[in-house]
């Protein structure tokens, strides 16, 4: 874990982490719902998805994330908040790599490292 210094209080850091978990969890849940090969097509597919928990887990994650993000942004400057929120791009790609075996090409690794570096700079320096 990196230590978060500067203007970021424990509450802000906690909301930031919760946002990452909910955003990544929500996207993975939608991926699991949409990628179910037993689901069929058209209306049957939607019925199948609605009868299983993944779709609803995704929706619930997004609803809670909506509130968490509002709370987060109300406590820090917006320009800082949107930059810190960019870490979600990294989290979802890393999760995709581990859970779905998605490829991390060199260009993707470079992108992930640059975004992470930027978030660390903003987090430490405000």
């Amino acid at each position: 874990m990196m230590s978060v210094a500067g203007s970021i209080s424990p509450l802000v850091a906690g909301l930031w982490l919760l946002n990452i978990v909910l955003d990544t969890g929500g996207q993975l849940a939608f991926k699991a719902a949409a990628g179910d090969e037993a689901a069929g097509d058209g209306l049957a597919r939607w019925k199948h998805m609605a009868s299983r928990p993944w779709l609803w887990l995704g929706v619930a994650s997004y609803v809670v994330e909506f509130l968490v993000w509002i709370a987060f942004l109300s406590l820090i400057p917006l320009s800082e908040g949107v930059l810190l929120g960019s870490i979600n791009i990294v989290a979802i790609m890393v999760a995709g790599r581990f859970l779905f075996g998605e490829k991390l090409t060199r260009l993707r690794v470079a992108g992930i490292l640059l975004v992470t570096l930027g978030v660390v700079i903003v987090g430490v320096g405000g």
Binding site: F72, L107, G111
Partner: protein
């Protein structure tokens, strides 16, 4: 067709920007933050939260339309580059100041997003145009 994509990318950025600005206004008006039903009621009791909903829904449908037609790499980048417009608008609307850390951090993040967009472009070679 290029002009259509460009319009789509700008529309996507516009909706995302509207959402973030609305989130900030909604959150500020609902202060102080508390894990309570009162706070949730304060959030939904003022109009800005619905600006955020409109921004999200608009961005979702624009994104779906873009994915059907536009190249994925630039679409990916456009869907995340609202950090630039949001930062610039927050100087004006919320009288925020850009310090060195935010500018340097933003440059690294934007460079990273461009790399990720290029990575998407390489992996998804566009199909031959239908029309």
């Amino acid at each position: 067709m290029k002009r259509f994509y460009l319009f789509g990318f700008l529309l996507l950025m516009g909706f995302d920007t509207l959402a973030q600005i609305s989130f900030k206004y909604a959150g500020t008006q609902a202060l102080p933050v508390a894990a309570s039903i009162e706070w949730v009621l304060r959030v939904f009791g003022q109009p800005w939260v619905y600006g955020a909903v409109i921004g999200y829904v608009g961005a979702f449908f624009t994104w779906m339309a873009l994915l059907k037609h536009a190249p994925i790499g630039p679409a990916f980048a456009a869907s995340h580059l609202e950090v630039v417009s949001v930062m610039l608008l927050s100087i004006w609307l919320f009288e925020e100041h850009l310090n060195t850390a935010r500018v340097l951090g933003a440059i690294a993040i934007i460079a990273g997003i461009v790399c990720l967009g290029m990575a998407e472009s390489r992996e998804h070679v566009p199909e031959p145009a239908e029309a």
